[in-house]
C-alpha cells in the first residue's frame, strides 16, 4: 500500500523549483502528400501542426480543445514521441526530447504515457489483461514473475477493477472497464506525464464521470501531470486547470480555465462555447448560438493570414493578410493569450454581428 | 495506345526475366568442377575420350565468364547446346517433342477453364442445390488428388477395361493430328481430363466463391431492379467482375500447369517436352535440362503477359496504371 502514497520527485534535469514539466516550443508537423506510382513526388503538405507553443505546469492539467482535424491528436503524438516533429522542440522535465532515437527515447517513455480514445481497439484482444497491464514492467524490466503480478493486481485495484480478473481477456470487460485497464497500463511505471487522447469520448456519459473522477484521484495521489485532449468543452472545463484552443494546426486562444470560459476572446472559442449544450433549458434558450458558416478548410491548403478568417463573423481585410500573434488582449491576465486582430469584447454579441454581416 | 505501352513494358520485363533465369541456370550448372560438368554433359555412358572431346569442344576449361558469354551468344542465335547422349542438337530434339506438349496444354487448359468456370457459375447461381453440393464434394476430392494418381486411376478404370473389350480408340502414347483428328483425340482425351481435373476443381471453387461475393454486391441489385433478366445480370455484370481474380490466379497457376504437364506426359507416355526432360535426369543429360529450363521460363513469362493483357481488358482501372 505504501506505493500508492508515493509522490513523484522532480526529474534530474530540472532546476529546483521549475514548475513547468512540458514545454512545447514552435512545434511544426507537416505530412508530405505524395503522388502514387514509381517515382513519388511530394506535391504538398498536410499542415497538421503549424508552430504551436505551449507549456504544461507540473501536477496540473492542460486541456487541449479543437474539432476533428485541428491537429490536437497529432500534437499529442509529437509530444509522446510517436511521430517525429518537422521542426520545433519538445522539452520534457528540462531535457530536450525532440526526435530522439528509439533507444534514447526509451528511458523517457517511462515518464510519458498515453491513454487512448477507443477502449475497443487500444487493447490487444488476444492477450490477457494481466499481460497487457504488465507490459510496461516487462518492457522496461522493472519487475518480473510474481512481483510483477502483485504490482499489476495492485494497479487493477487502484483503478477500480477486480484483481482476480487478471487472466481475463479484454472482450470480457465493458467499455468503461477497458478504459480503466488502459489507465492502469499507463500508470504502471509511475509516469510524470500522461497524455489523455479523448479518453472518455467513446464512453457513455454516466461512465465518463467515473473515469474522469478516477483520473482526478490519480492526479492527486501521484502528482501526475495531464495533457487532456477532448472536443467536449464541458469535460475539459471539469478536469483542466488551463486550456488551449486549437484551430487548423494553430493555437487560437489559451489560458487558465475560468477567464477563457467566462470571457472568450477569440471568435472561434466563443462559437464553440455557444454551441455546447446546456443542461438548464432556460440557459439554453437564453444563449444565442453562433453558427459558423462554411466547412473547416483543408489543412493542405490553409487560408492565408488568420486561418479562421473565412468563417469569422468579425473578419476584415487585415485578417486575410496578416497572421495574428498570440498575445494577451486588453483587460486580460498575462496568461490569457489570444491570436486575433479583433478579439471579442465584453458584452459583444457575436450572433448579432453575424446576422448583420450576412 | 496505353495498351501498347503496357505491352512493350511487359515484354521488355519478360526478356529480362528470361535472361535472369538463363543466367541463374547457367551458373548453377556450369560453375562446378570441370570434370563433373564434362561428365554430365557427355552423358553417363561416355568414355574418357568423349569426355575430353566435350571439354575441348565446349571450352569447359575456359574462365567461367568466357563460357557465359558463349552461352548467351548461342542463346541469341537460337542454339541451346548439344546433347551428346542423343547425338543431336538440343533445339532439334525439343522441336520434335513440342507437338505433344502443345496438344496437351491447349486441350487441357480449354477443358479446365470451361468445366471449372461453368460448374463454378452454375454452383453459385444455384447455391445449396443438389448440383452445388455434389459438385463441391467432387471439388474436394479433386483437390486432394495428385495428378499422377488421377492419371493412373483413369488408365486402370477406363483404358484397361476398354482394351480388354477390344475398344482401342482410347490409347496411351501420342499420335499427331496428321494421323487423323479422331485418333489424335483418342490419345489425348484421358491426358486432358487428367490435367484438367485438379485445376478445374480449384477454379470451380474460386469462381463460385467470387461469383457469390459479387452477386451480393449492391450494383447487382441495382441491375436487377432495372429489370434486366437474371441471365444478363449474372453474365454481363456478375461474371465479369468475378472473373478478374480468377484471371489473376491464372498467372500464378502457370507454374502449376507446367508441373502438371510434365507429370501427365510421364503418366501417359506422350513423349513431350516434359517427359523428355524428366528422363534426362535418369541419364544425367544436362543440355536437355538447360534447354527445358529456358523454354519453361519463356513460356511462363509469355503466359503471364497474356494473363496481364486479359486482366487489363477486363478491368479498365488497370490500364491507367
Amino acid at each position: 500500500m505504501s506505493d500508492l502514497l508515493e509522490s513523484t520527485e522532480p526529474g534530474p534535469g530540472t532546476p529546483a523549483g521549475d514548475d513547468v514539466l512540458v514545454r512545447i516550443e514552435n512545434v511544426v508537423k507537416y505530412f508530405p502528400v505524395r503522388t502514387g506510382g514509381l517515382v513519388r513526388r511530394t506535391v504538398g503538405h498536410v499542415q497538421a501542426v503549424d508552430d504551436v507553443s505551449l507549456s504544461i505546469p507540473r501536477g496540473k492539467t492542460l486541456g487541449l480543445v479543437g474539432e476533428t482535424g485541428s491537429g490536437k491528436s497529432t500534437l499529442a503524438r509529437c509530444v509522446a514521441g510517436l511521430i517525429p516533429v518537422t521542426s520545433g522542440k519538445v522539452i520534457f522535465d528540462g531535457r530536450d526530447v525532440t526526435n530522439l532515437s528509439r533507444s534514447a527515447m526509451r528511458p523517457v517513455r517511462r515518464e510519458i504515457q498515453m491513454i487512448f480514445q477507443d477502449p475497443y481497439s487500444s487493447l490487444n484482444p488476444r492477450r490477457r489483461v494481466g499481460a497487457i497491464i504488465g507490459d510496461p514492467f516487462t518492457i522496461h524490466r522493472t519487475a518480473t514473475g510474481g512481483e510483477r503480478k502483485r504490482q499489476v493486481q495492485e494497479l487493477m485495484e487502484r483503478v477500480g477493477l477486480n484483481p482476480e480478473h487478471y487472466n481475463r481477456f479484454p472482450a470480457e470487460f465493458s467499455g468503461g472497464q477497458r478504459q480503466r485497464i488502459g489507465v492502469a497500463r499507463a500508470l504502471a511505471l509511475r509516469p510524470k506525464l500522461i497524455i489523455c487522447d479523448e479518453p472518455v469520448s467513446a464512453l457513455d456519459v454516466s461512465i465518463q464521470a467515473q473515469v474522469l473522477n478516477l483520473l482526478a484521484d490519480l492526479q492527486r495521489d501521484y502528482g501526475l501531470t495531464y495533457l487532456f485532449i477532448a472536443h467536449d468543452l464541458e469535460v475539459v472545463r471539469h478536469v483542466s486547470n488551463t486550456v488551449a484552443v486549437m484551430y487548423l494546426g494553430r493555437i487560437v486562444e489559451s489560458g487558465p480555465i475560468t477567464p477563457v470560459y467566462d470571457t472568450p476572446r477569440h471568435p472561434y472559442t466563443a462559437a464553440l462555447l455557444s454551441a455546447a449544450p446546456a443542461a438548464d433549458p432556460d440557459t439554453a434558450a437564453a444563449r444565442q448560438r453562433i453558427i459558423l458558416t462554411g466547412d473547416v478548410p483543408s489543412p493542405i491548403d490553409p487560408p492565408s493570414g488568420c486561418r479562421f478568417h473565412p468563417r469569422c463573423p468579425k473578419a476584415e481585410q487585415i485578417c486575410g493578410t496578416q497572421e495574428p500573434q498570440l498575445e494577451a488582449k486588453a483587460g486580460d491576465a498575462a496568461t490569457h493569450v489570444t491570436a486575433c486582430h479583433f478579439p471579442v469584447q465584453a458584452g459583444e454579441n457575436l450572433a448579432a454581428a453575424q446576422a448583420g454581416a450576412n | 495506345m496505353a495498351i501498347l505501352g503496357f505491352l512493350v513494358r511487359r515484354i521488355l520485363t519478360g526478356i529480362v526475366v528470361v535472361w535472369l533465369v538463363a543466367t541463374g541456370a547457367f551458373f548453377l550448372f556450369f560453375a562446378r568442377p570441370v570434370a563433373t560438368v564434362a561428365h554430365q554433359l557427355a552423358g553417363r555412358a561416355a568414355t574418357p575420350q568423349v569426355i575430353n572431346e566435350v571439354i575441348s569442344n565446349l571450352g569447359l576449361n575456359q574462365p567461367i565468364m568466357v563460357q557465359y558469354w558463349h552461352f548467351l551468344d548461342g542463346l541469341l542465335h537460337g542454339n541451346l547446346g548439344y546433347s551428346y547422349y542423343n547425338q543431336e542438337a538440343v533445339t532439334t530434339m525439343l522441336k520434335q517433342d513440342l507437338p505433344p506438349t502443345i496438344s496437351l496444354v491447349v486441350g487441357g487448359v480449354i477443358l479446365w477453364l470451361v468445366v471449372g468456370l461453368t460448374v463454378g457459375i452454375i454452383s453459385a447461381t444455384r447455391a445449396r442445390s443438389l448440383f452445388d453440393r455434389t459438385s463441391s464434394v467432387a471439388v474436394l476430392i479433386g483437390l486432394s488428388m495428385p495428378v499422377f494418381v488421377i492419371g493412373e486411376l483413369l488408365i486402370l478404370i477406363v483404358f484397361v477395361p476398354l482394351q480388354q473389350h477390344g475398344i482401342t480408340w482410347i490409347n496411351t502414347g501420342y499420335a499427331g493430328i496428321s494421323q487423323g483428328v479422331l485418333t489424335w483425340m483418342g490419345h489425348m482425351i484421358l491426358p486432358w481430363i487428367t490435367l484438367a481435373t485438379v485445376q478445374a476443381a480449384v477454379y470451380t471453387r474460386l469462381m463460385r466463391g467470387q461469383l457469390l461475393d459479387t452477386m451480393g454486391e449492391d450494383y447487382i441489385r441495382t441491375a436487377r431492379s432495372k429489370g434486366l433478366s437474371e441471365r444478363r445480370v449474372t453474365f454481363k455484370h456478375g461474371v465479369r467482375s468475378a472473373l478478374t481474380p480468377v484471371v489473376s490466379q491464372l498467372g500464378v497457376d502457370v507454374g502449376q500447369l507446367l508441373g502438371g504437364v510434365v507429370v501427365v506426359e510421364a503418366v501417359f507416355g506422350l513423349g513431350g517436352l516434359g517427359q523428355v526432360s524428366v528422363e534426362a535426369i535418369d541419364t544425367d543429360n544436362l543440355p536437355v535440362i538447360i534447354g527445358f529450363v529456358i523454354i519453361a521460363a519463356a513460356f511462363v513469362v509469355a503466359a503471364n503477359i497474356v494473363v496481364d493483357l486479359l486482366y487489363a481488358l477486363l478491368d479498365p482501372r488497370v490500364r491507367i496504371a
Binding site: 487493447l123 487472466n167 479484454p170 472482450a171 | 554430365q40 495428385p146 499422377f148 507454374g255 508441373g259
Partner: protein, 358 residues
C-alpha cells in the same frame, strides 16, 4: 453541470458492476483456443478426419511392429513366395502378404507403411519450415513496410509464381535425386503462400491502436511483432498449415513418381505408384492400395483444415462449406450454437457476463 448531476447515478452503476465482479471469483477467461477446440469437437467430419490422421500416424510410427508380424522387411524381395509363375505380383492375402506384393515381390502393405513415414515426415517438416519462414518474412514485410516490404513482397510473389518442376529438375540434375532435394524444393515453396497472408494481416493489424499503445510504452519492433501481432496471426496460420500438409505430401509423391526424389528401393508412395504403372492389367492392387492411402490421407488433412477454419470463425457461412460431405452439414445444422464468448473483440459488443453454468 451535466457531469456532476449524473455522478450519483453512475456510482450506482459502478456498485452494480463490482457486485457482479466479486461474485465471479477467480474466473479464467476462455482463450480462443479453448473455444475453437470446443467447436471443433462438435464437427463430426473434422473429428473423423482427425482420427484417420492419427491412425495413419500411428501405423507409420509402428511400422517395424508390423514387420515383425509379417516377417517381411520393406526392401526385401521374395521372388518365391511374392511372385507368381509369370513374375507378376501376387494378390492380397496370398502367402502372408496382407495387401499383396509389388513388382519385385516385396510386401506391399509394409512398403506402404514405410512410404507413410516419408510422406508424413516431409509433410510436417516442410510445413513447419514454411510456417516459421513465412511468419518471419510476412511479419517483417508487413511491419517494416517501405523498402523492406517492396523487396520481400516481390520476392514472395516471384517464388509463388515459379514453376516448381523447373527447380526440381535443376536441383535433381545438380545434386542427384534424393530426400534432400525434395525437402529443399518443397520448403522453397511452402513459405510463400503463408508469407503473403501473414503480410496482409500484419499490414492491417499494424494500424490498430493497441500497436500504437505498445510503441508508446517503448516496445521495440521485434517485441511488437512477436507479442502483439503474432497472437492475432496464429489462427489463420494454423489453418494454412493444416491445409498445406496435404499439398506437401502430394508434392513429395509427385516428385518421387517422376524419379526426382526418393529413389527405389526406399519406399515412397510416389515411386511405388510409378512402378505400379507397369502392372495395370495384371495387378490392380498394386495401383489401388497406395493410391487409396494417399487419397485418404490428403482428404483427411483437407477436411480437418476446413473444420479448423470453420471452428476458428463461427461467423463463416456454415450451411454450405465448399466441399463438405452431406454428413458434415447435417451434423453442423443439428449442433447448438455456442455462446459467443467474445472471442473476437473487434466485433464484440461490451461484454455481458453469461449466466453461471452456461
Amino acid at each position: 453541470m451535466s457531469i456532476t448531476g449524473i455522478e450519483a447515478a453512475s456510482q450506482e452503476a459502478a456498485a452494480g458492476e463490482s457486485a457482479l465482479d466479486t461474485g465471479a471469483a477467480k474466473i479464467q477467461g476462455r482463450s480462443q483456443w479453448q473455444l475453437t477446440w470446443r467447436r471443433l469437437r462438435q464437427d463430426k467430419v473434422a473429428m473423423a478426419a482427425l482420427v484417420v490422421i492419427l491412425v495413419i500416424v500411428l501405423l507409420a510410427i509402428f511400422a517395424p511392429v508390423f514387420v515383425s508380424f509379417t516377417h517381411h522387411p520393406p526392401n526385401i524381395a521374395y521372388p518365391n513366395t511374392g511372385e507368381d509363375a509369370a513374375g507378376n505380383p501376387v494378390a492380397p492375402g496370398t502367402n502372408g502378404f496382407w495387401l499383396g506384393t509389388d513388382g519385385t515381390g516385396r510386401d506391399l502393405f509394409i512398403r506402404i507403411l514405410y512410404g507413410a513415414r516419408i510422406s508424413l515426415f516431409v509433410g510436417f517438416f516442410t510445413t513447419f519450415v514454411g510456417v516459421v519462414a513465412g511468419l518471419a518474412v510476412g511479419l517483417m514485410a508487413g511491419y517494416f513496410g517501405g523498402f523492406v516490404d517492396t523487396v520481400l513482397a516481390r520476392f514472395t510473389d516471384a517464388v509463388l509464381a515459379f514453376p516448381y518442376i523447373v527447380l526440381a529438375l535443376a536441383l535433381a540434375v545438380v545434386l542427384g535425386p534424393s530426400l534432400t532435394v525434395i525437402i529443399g524444393v518443397i520448403s522453397f515453396f511452402s513459405w510463400a503462400a503463408i508469407a503473403r497472408i501473414v503480410r496482409g494481416q500484419t499490414l492491417s493489424i499494424k494500424e490498430k491502436e493497441y500497436i500504437e499503445a505498445a510503441r508508446s510504452l517503448g516496445a521495440g519492433p521485434f517485441r511488437i511483432m512477436i507479442f502483439d501481432i503474432l497472437p492475432n496471426l496464429l489462427a489463420p496460420v494454423l489453418v494454412l498449415a493444416t491445409l498445406y500438409i496435404p499439398t506437401a505430401i502430394v508434392f513429395e509423391a509427385t516428385l518421387s513418381y517422376l524419379g526426382l526424389g526418393i529413389q527405389p528401393p526406399t519406399a515412397s508412395w510416389g515411386n511405388i505408384l510409378a512402378d505400379a504403372q507397369n502392372f495395370y492389367s495384371t495387378s490392380w492392387w498394386y495401383v489401388v492400395f497406395p493410391a487409396l492411402v494417399l487419397l485418404i490421407t490428403t482428404l483427411a488433412f483437407n477436411l480437418l483444415g476446413d473444420g479448423v477454419r470453420d471452428a476458428m470463425d463461427p461467423r463463416t457461412e456454415r450451411v454450405f462449406a465448399a466441399g463438405r460431405g452431406r454428413r458434415g452439414r447435417k451434423g453442423r445444422e443439428k449442433r447448438q450454437v455456442l455462446a459467443e464468448d467474445g472471442s473476437d473483440a473487434a466485433h464484440a459488443a461490451p461484454y455481458v457476463p453469461p449466466a453461471e453454468g452456461s
